[in-house]
């Protein structure tokens, strides 16, 4: 039942209009509050989102620092190249864009797969590399079709150029794209086309060479096209690095080694440890890596038994052979052994039921320490080693820098190995055997050293200082390294040097390689590193000469040297793999290297650089000079070890 009967439709309408109108005012209020909430309360958040929409921040890659030799010759430098990238976040339809791209340019199926995989893995903000090192024709084509390829960008990048190619490959190293592990979350390392040092100075001094990235903020529209540049922070180029290397000497050394199948050589400053040349042969062209090396090339280099990718001066470990005799002699002298005590060499020495041979079949006869070194008499050193003992020998070796990394500022260095009795016990259950001391005394057995370690030992003997090698050239006098004295008696060192001069003098094992110019002579020590064991049966048949054996079974030839002999400034180490005897194969190379070094005199300390008289020529090596370590032989009737 109705209480009020309002029949006046007009008044009813007015009342109801007020209800509807009130509702509308309320809804207007809702709109206002919504606008307030979006524009004022949440305004900051939406401003950020709007900026994220329109602003695309990209890194400006820093220019990699150049690498120079000691005289400022460029060994590694950046060179411009062009590449195409894809920015996924600015590509509305990645699939369509890629399809268009693949139809425009010829992409191998493998390359397409790689791109798709990269896109799947990458964050959408980071560009993905489409193609590197694009030529002008492709560049023009891509520019032309830019509107159809949203998100595809042409970027000017840089590649590393190594003008001296094979000649500096092992020292300077090369660059390559970082692995996923290396890149991690680092934005710079994840940039396509960015390269980091993979070996050599490029790797060791990566931080110095890399530089600091800048950034550029671009305003882009909804289709990812760049509208304008907002801000730009320039990148900081990497540091230019000056090496102690003398490129002329380096080229000379590397070229000289071309005559061998596999060899390495070092020329180092005897007083400041600077490396003038560090040659390793065979080598490779590091420029191949700059442009992304092909799988085929990489496989070939990696599987090559001559290991062109390795710097043999750091990574090659060899039994030092007779070069180690200077270490043994020094240990003996410091231990108070009288160098003038004579030992008779009949050509062998028996210990227990084993016979240890001297390289000289008939024996050397009476030997003192000087002649023992000069003629490299094995028997003399068997006796000396016995007298001094392995632990004192090992201690001296360590003092001279053997058995541990030298700490040179290059990657991948090997520590080598200097055994002592403790080490033997730890490695094998049985203790040190007396026979092993004899083997160690002539630098064979467990002992392993890198050519660099041998160079350091030679420099320490030459200078009496704790020389450490380095490849970076100190910028100023203040930065020049100062080395502590070794703490060895000057008389001992002088005795060893004198003996080493004797090695390169008439009657010495490397007499043929003497320089022959007074004041510029060298001192040195030959070494032959035996590769395989000689069995009794072989000895019975007569040990074949190196030349008659297959290359892989020939001995390594070693030579360590310093010059000028009376006032040593330069040291050299030469290792010719499977080169035969050190005196024949290695010493002549060391001679040539030291002559060239003294001619150029990079340290600028010689009274006058060496001028070779035309008449002086290396004397052909005498037949007798064959220096081959003859391993222990079981005596007849002996029971095997």
């Amino acid at each position: 039942m109705r209480v009020v009967r309002d029949t006046d439709l007009g008044r009813l309408l007015t009342r109801r209009a007020l209800i509807v109108g009130g509702l509308q005012v309320g809804l207007f209020g809702l709109l206002f509050s919504r606008l307030y909430s979006l524009q004022i309360a949440q305004g900051g958040r939406f401003r950020t989102l709007a900026d994220e929409n329109r602003i695309s921040t990209r890194l400006v890659l820093p220019e990699r620092g150049r690498i120079l030799d000691r005289n400022g010759t460029v060994l590694a430098m950046p060179e411009k190249n062009f590449r195409a990238d894809l920015l996924p976040e600015q590509t509305p339809d990645i699939r369509a864009t890629l399809q268009r791209l693949f139809s425009l340019l010829n992409f191998e199926p493998a390359e397409q797969q790689r791109i798709l995989k990269d896109i799947k893995r990458s964050h959408s903000r980071l560009p993905v590399l489409l193609r590197d090192n694009i030529d002008w024709e492709t560049l023009a084509l891509l520019e032309l079709y830019t509107p159809e390829l949203p998100g595809v960008m042409i970027e000017a990048g840089e590649v590393r150029n190594y003008p001296f190619k094979e000649n500096t490959a092992h020292i300077v190293g090369y660059v390559g794209a970082p692995t996923d592990q290396e890149a991690g979350d680092d934005a710079l390392l994840n940039e396509p086309g960015f390269r980091i040092g993979k070996s050599g100075v490029e790797k060791f001094y990566e931080e110095n060479l890399q530089g600091e990235p800048g950034s550029v903020q671009l305003e882009v529209n909804a289709y990812g096209q760049q509208v304008r540049e907002l801000t730009r922070e320039e990148s900081t180029s990497g540091e230019a690095l000056k090496l102690s290397l003398d490129i002329n000497l380096q080229e000379f050394a590397q070229n000289r080694l071309l005559q061998e199948r596999s060899a390495s050589a070092i020329i180092m400053d005897a007083l400041d440890g600077g490396i003038y040349a560090m040659a390793s042969h065979p080598s490779f062209d590091p420029n191949l890596f700059s442009y992304g090396i092909t799988k085929e090339n990489w496989g070939k280099m990696n599987s090559d038994s001559l290991t062109p990718l390795f710097n043999k001066t750091l990574t090659g470990t060899y039994a030092p052979g007779s070069t180690f005799k200077v270490v043994v002699a020094l240990a003996a002298l410091e231990d108070g052994v009288n160098p003038h005590t004579h030992v008779f060499c009949p050509g062998y020495m028996d210990l227990g039921n084993h016979r240890f041979h001297c390289w000289k079949k008939g024996g050397h006869g009476g030997m003192d320490m000087h002649n023992g070194i000069v003629q490299s008499c094995d028997v003399f050193f068997y006796h000396l080693g016995q007298k001094v003992g392995i632990d004192k020998i090992a201690e001296m070796a360590a003092r001279l820098g053997l058995g541990a990394k030298t700490g040179i500022d290059l990657p991948h260095e090997k520590p080598g190995l200097i055994p002592n009795s403790e080490w033997k016990k730890k490695q094998f259950t049985e203790g040190w055997q007396p026979g092993e001391t004899l083997v160690a005394a002539i630098g064979q057995g467990y002992i392993l050293a890198t050519p660099l370690q041998m160079a350091v030992a030679t420099a320490r003997i030459s200078s009496g200082l704790k020389i450490a090698p380095h490849i970076i050239h100190p910028d100023s006098e203040a930065e020049k390294p100062v080395f502590a004295p070794l703490g060895l008696k000057p008389s001992s060192l002088a005795f060893i040097r004198d003996a080493m001069i004797g090695v390169v003098s008439p009657g010495g094992t490397a007499a043929a390689s003497r320089i022959g110019v007074p004041g510029y002579e060298m001192g040195g020590k030959t070494g032959t590193s035996q590769v395989r064991r000689i069995t009794r049966a072989q000895r019975a048949r007569g040990v074949p000469k190196n030349e008659d054996r297959p290359w892989e079974e020939r001995d390594h030839a070693l030579f360590i040297a310093f010059a000028p002999s009376q006032n040593p400034r330069y040291v050299a180490t030469v290792v010719v793999e499977h080169g035969g005897g050190g005196s024949k194969a290695a010493a002549p190379i060391a001679r040539e290297l030291l002559i060239e070094t003294m001619k150029r005199d990079p340290a600028k300390t010689l009274p006058a650089p060496l001028v070779m008289p035309v008449s002086v020529k290396p004397v052909p090596a005498p037949e007798e000079d064959e220096e081959l370590f003859q391993e222990d032989e079981e005596l007849p009737g002996a029971v095997g070890q």
Binding site: D8, A17, L30, L31, L35, L38, Q39, F46, R54
Partner: protein
């Protein structure tokens, strides 16, 4: 029973001009120019491609509005049903032969014009509903059987529009008709019944929705779920609005609209261009202009002395309000994107023309508020 013409002398032209609510005309003009200005900005601070075309429509549109306003309200009263019948025919034609645009048949080509009959339908529907209820007494209105005819008048075109399909427009049509029914005096219990019945009907309707419409409704619930799909538009719209702040980024400086992150910036999302570039201040200014327009509509309608004018005026005003509400609620993410333009401001010919016609009718009501119409129910 029926009043005569005797006490309702025809007005002279000069009198009509005197009675013309010039304030209302001014607000309509201001809104139109606001639209042109925003289209100029949306076009990249250029008359092309939208601002100039829009301006060429605004001028004849305003003239058409004045012309319609000067026509005697009795003329519109008399021809209401015929106009309605013609609009219905057009709607049927659209469903049958309509031009497909944006996945829906909404337009019909008539020579150089593209006609959107649903926009006209809403105007003429207000006319027939006003005329129908004008002729009923309070008691008659109380009789539910009397409501079948007007319900049919609403539901037939609404169904046709839904088939097009244009869910937004159909909903708007029903909503503003409901307002007319309510204002006409339809009893409360009817609305109570509908309050229960409609949700049920909606459930049934859901089954017949276009996939994109379902998707729109679903995406609305959680737009972030699919940022590059249907939710993309509304997210970009909110970013544009929100980043505008209090004073905006400056005319022609809206990054979202100028860099094309904002979709449909010249039509459904024109309000966002304004809000981004002129900030909350600009947005509120525009809403205040609409509020004034609607308030004007109320004043004109309530001042009218015949039920036809009152109902027609309030119907058209409510329809206006619903457009504004729906559009702004849509671009601010309060309701799903249903494709409703902002009256007088959005770019688009036929929809605009319908708004000018509606404004013209309001003018006619204002001028002829004292007219005596045939068939009014005894007071």
């Amino acid at each position: 029973m029926f009043s005569t013409h005797a006490h309702d002398p025809d007005l002279h032209f000069s009198e009509k001009l005197r009675y013309l609510p010039w304030g209302f005309v001014f607000v309509v003009m201001l809104l139109s120019l606001f639209g042109v200005a925003m289209l100029y900005s949306a076009g990249g601070a250029s008359w092309k491609p939208w601002a100039a075309t829009q301006l060429y429509r605004v001028i004849p549109g305003l003239l058409l509005m004045l012309a319609i306003g000067l026509v005697d309200i009795r003329f519109w009263y008399r021809w209401s049903f015929l106009l309605y019948a013609s609009a219905l025919l057009l709607l049927v034609a659209v469903v049958a032969i309509g031009h497909t645009g944006m996945g829906a048949k909404r337009w019909i080509r008539m020579g150089i014009f593209v006609l959107q009959p649903s926009a006209y339908m809403k105007v003429v529907l207000a006319m027939v509903l006003a005329k129908y209820f004008h002729q009923l007494t309070y008691e008659q209105i109380g009789n539910p059987l009397r409501l079948f005819t007007p319900a049919g008048l609403v539901l037939v075109p609404a169904a046709l529009i839904l088939i097009e399909p244009n869910l937004g427009m159909a909903t708007l049509l029903v909503l503003f008709s409901a307002a007319v029914f309510f204002l006409a005096g339809v009893r409360w219990w009817i609305f109570g019944l509908l309050g229960v019945g409609v949700p049920f009907a909606a459930q049934q309707a859901w089954k017949h929705l276009h996939d994109y419409q379902k998707q729109r409704l679903l995406t609305f619930i959680n737009p972030e779920q699919d940022p590059l799909g249907s939710g993309y538009n509304i997210i970009q719209s909110k970013i544009a609005l929100g980043s505008g702040g209090l004073f905006g980024k400056g005319f022609g400086m809206g990054t979202q609209s100028q860099l094309n992150f904002l979709p449909e910036k010249h039509t459904d999302f024109i309000f966002v261009v304004l809000a981004e570039e002129m900030g909350l201040m600009g947005a509120v200014l525009l809403l205040v202009l609409f509020f004034i327009l609607i308030a004007y509509g109320y004043v004109i309608s309530l001042n009218c002395r015949h039920q036809f004018g009152r109902l027609l005026g309030l119907g058209l005003t409510t329809s206006f309000f619903l457009y504004v509400l729906t559009n702004v609620a849509m671009v601010t993410g309060l309701i799903p994107v249903v494709g409703i333009p902002l009256p007088l401001v959005s770019y688009g010919g036929s929809v605009m023309l319908a708004f000018y016609i509606a404004c013209g009718l309001l003018l006619s009501i204002a001028i002829h508020k004292d007219a005596r119409l045939d068939g009014s129910a005894p007071q």
